[in-house]
Symmetry: C2
Subunit: 80 residues, 2 copies
């Protein structure tokens, strides 16, 4: 099965990368652009058959290595 | 409205970051992990009312600044 993982900065945390991109877009004339938030998107192939076990393992992976839980939130979808 | 943008490395392009994460996960004992692909996830607030115009502008933004079309693919969803 395939997991899609989204890691985003927590709302309370400063997002300098997002601010920089917003400024760059304004500078190019895209005045309609408001807040920009930038995170990570990961696709992981999993050789697993048990959906519940795969979810548990993914949650552990996200917490331990794929995100920094102090400043980031994560969510994932499991397909197939 | 709010745009969600996904930027991923093209399939034919080497993804060293994905390989590194896959190796790290294997090293931690997650043997079920296969291929890993790492991209970017962006959320942009748009002060716009015309959905078609917003889509056109977003596509232009993705092509010009938010992705590198030589080595990356992008797709986006528009909400609200």
């Amino acid at each position: 099965m395939k997991a899609k993982i989204y890691v985003t900065p927590k709302k309370a945390v400063l997002d300098p990368q997002g601010k920089a991109v917003a400024n760059a877009l304004h500078g190019l004339g895209y005045a309609a652009v408001g807040d920009v938030h930038i995170g990570k998107y990961m696709e992981i192939e999993l050789k697993a058959t048990d959906q519940a076990a795969a979810k548990k393992q993914l949650d552990e992976m996200c917490h331990r290595i794929l995100s920094n839980p102090v400043i980031e939130d994560y969510r994932f979808e499991l397909e197939g």
